[in-house]
Amino acid sequence: MSRREELKQELAVGVLRGEAPRVVELTREGLALGLTPDEILWQALIPGLEEVGRRFETGEFFVPEMLIAARAMQGALNIVKPLMLQAGNAKSLGKCVMGTIKGDMHDIGKNLCNIMLEGAGFQVIDIGVNAAPAKFVAAVQEHRPGLVGLSAFLTTTMPMFKVTIQALEAAGLRDGLKIMVGGAPVTQEYADKSGADGYARDASKTVSLAKQLLGVTTETEVPANLVAAVDALEKMVRSAREKE
């Protein structure tokens, strides 16, 4: 295997294991070796993050593991995204405005969703926490996204889903716009009652929901050798620890 291929695999494994400094280092090495930002993103980082999502869904990963993987991914994105924009070849699966609704300052779930979406190839415009309906309206008017994501952590703030969706309708922005909602207390039933187009139970599900709502198909697959590579690395670490 060439160093370039090896490096892509190590990058994916680095994201999976949440090794932020290592992922940054490998991203720089990959660029120096002549890998394009596009190759790094689509052939290394995204497969790594997709494996993170898969493990979260099967219960092998939990929120802390998602957080460190997302942080590692973000470190690499900070390097490759500007280069892609500069080269004018940034592929995007779609544009998404994300925010935590009015009255709610929690952002852990929204931030995870943002990274997962961005990592999956979406362009994310984050309007922050405690975002009033007017702020969502203004962001949609300015950025013309295909998708809006509303997040809530508190039972008390969830009614703002409906209010925000109604504000988007009143502003004449609802046609052709897909709206998804999520957050710890949210359920499918509540999402339906709010008038949303979709509900995602967690950050990992957000990506598949976003793709489904926008009708996009993925171009990446988790490389078959990735799981084996991670297992081998984990065995190595365990054996080194035992020797200590």
Partner: protein, 398 residues
């Protein structure tokens, strides 16, 4: 059988009460909408509660058919609570080495942003939060790096807490309500000091730091729990909300459970009961939470209410070791037809009522509800929750 006797039997599982106890936690927005006359200021309302708990908190709940439950709570760092400070605050000398300066750094029509600047012999620290409506939102946290841990040695000593008002209030109420004082558990307090996102990443980045923080927090909480033992409260709800954020059993066992165990033991030594509060997810380490030695487990939030607990499964797995305190989907109380509310009560009682050790309780606080639905919930539980229980499927008398 009075309220406290009934709930105590369910908590301790030493015998069967006359019926399943029925509790709920009424949220501020619900109280504000339904309780008349409305006080001009929140502080006035709190003073009414402290001065006349029987004519206010106990009466409102009893009128709805509930077994009254009083939920006072201890002050958390990172938020400004008016109610706890009215009930118990520290003696002046507790602040000798922990001087707090509160500075307003922003103000809008509906909110204020405050920064607490802490001065201690170990150095300075700060945290900030925004106050809006009844809520306080942390914006940044006191423990920004490892050196800040030294500040924690100078936090006001729980031994210097003045608990006379709380004690007097407890005495006034006696056994006419169940007293559930809320106090943080160690993981929750650590999250409030460090921020839960950063703390979660610390588990991987600097595990020794997490243990140091948990040790400091636990040692102080044990003192707080011992002090609360002087007040005569029946029980404490050890708030480990952030345990329910989605942690692995391995993380729970290594970083949280040993400290939870110590806190539960301290509460028992202080002579009252402990309810373990996880209002999120946790079915994967259910047995571990029970193994802390807690007397009750709350809130057993069902999937329909975005938790991951199945009450019947929980009863099967741990019902012989702990009182189950929750499981009712309170969202039904807002708009659902009374028949649905009745069905939900019966679902809970059929799942967990058998053999005692169960308290019907809304899994979350009630912020929005039709009071008539609360009455339906209570009446159904009073009829269908009598011991000995009717044979399942017989339908009861509701």
């Amino acid at each position: 059988m009075n309220v406290a006797e009934r709930t105590r039997l369910a908590f301790t599982r030493v015998g069967l009460p006359d019926r399943v106890p029925i509790h709920a936690w009424l949220g501020m927005t619900f109280i504000q909408r339904t309780v008349l006359p409305r006080p001009a200021r929140m502080t006035d309302l709190f003073h009414q509660w402290i001065d006349d708990p029987l004519g206010t908190l106990v009466k409102w709940q009893a009128d709805l058919g509930l077994d009254p439950m009083i939920t006072t709570h201890s002050q958390h760092i990172g938020e400004l609570e008016r109610w706890p400070r009215l009930l118990c605050d520290f003696k002046e000398d507790a602040y000798a080495h922990w001087r707090e300066e509160i500075v307003e750094i922003d103000r809008s029509e509906s909110s204020r942003t405050l920064e607490h600047r802490i001065h201690t012999p170990a150095g300075e620290g700060a945290y900030s939060y925004r106050m809006e409506g009844y809520s306080d939102w942390p914006l940044d946290y006191l423990i920004k790096d490892e050196a800040d841990l030294d500040l924690l040695h100078y936090r006001p000593d729980p031994d210097l807490l003045v608990v006379d008002r709380l004690k007097a209030m407890v005495e006034k109420v006696g056994d006419r309500a169940w007293w559930l004082h809320h106090a943080p558990g160690p993981w929750n307090e650590a999250a409030e000091l460090r921020g839960v996102t950063t703390l979660s990443m610390d588990l991987y980045d600097r595990p020794e730091f997490v243990h140091k923080l948990m040790r400091l927090v636990t040692d102080r909480l044990k003192k707080l729990y011992r002090k609360l033992g002087e007040t005569g409260i029946h029980s404490v709800s050890m708030n480990e909300t952030w345990v329910g954020m989605g942690l692995s059993p391995h993380i729970y066992q290594e970083f949280i459970k040993p400290y939870d165990d110590e806190c539960v033991a301290a509460i028992h030594e202080a002579g009252y009961l402990v309810s373990y509060h996880n209002c999120g997810r946790g079915t994967r380490f259910l047995e571990d939470m029970v193994a802390t030695g807690a007397d009750a487990l709350e809130t057993i939030t069902p999937v329909e209410n975005s938790g991951d607990f199945d009450l019947a499964d929980v009863k099967r797995r741990v019902g012989d070791r702990i009182c189950l305190f929750g499981g009712f989907n309170e969202r039904l109380l807002d708009e659902a037809a009374p028949a649905k509310v009745r069905d939900e009560v019966k679902r809970c009682l059929d799942a967990a009522g058998e053999g005692g050790g169960y308290i019907l309780r809304t899994s979350g606080a009630i912020y929005q509800a039709d009071p008539r639905n609360i009455e339906v919930m209570c009446q159904t539980a009073r009829d269908y929750g009598r011991y000995p229980r009717p044979a399942q499927g017989a339908g009861g008398s509701a």
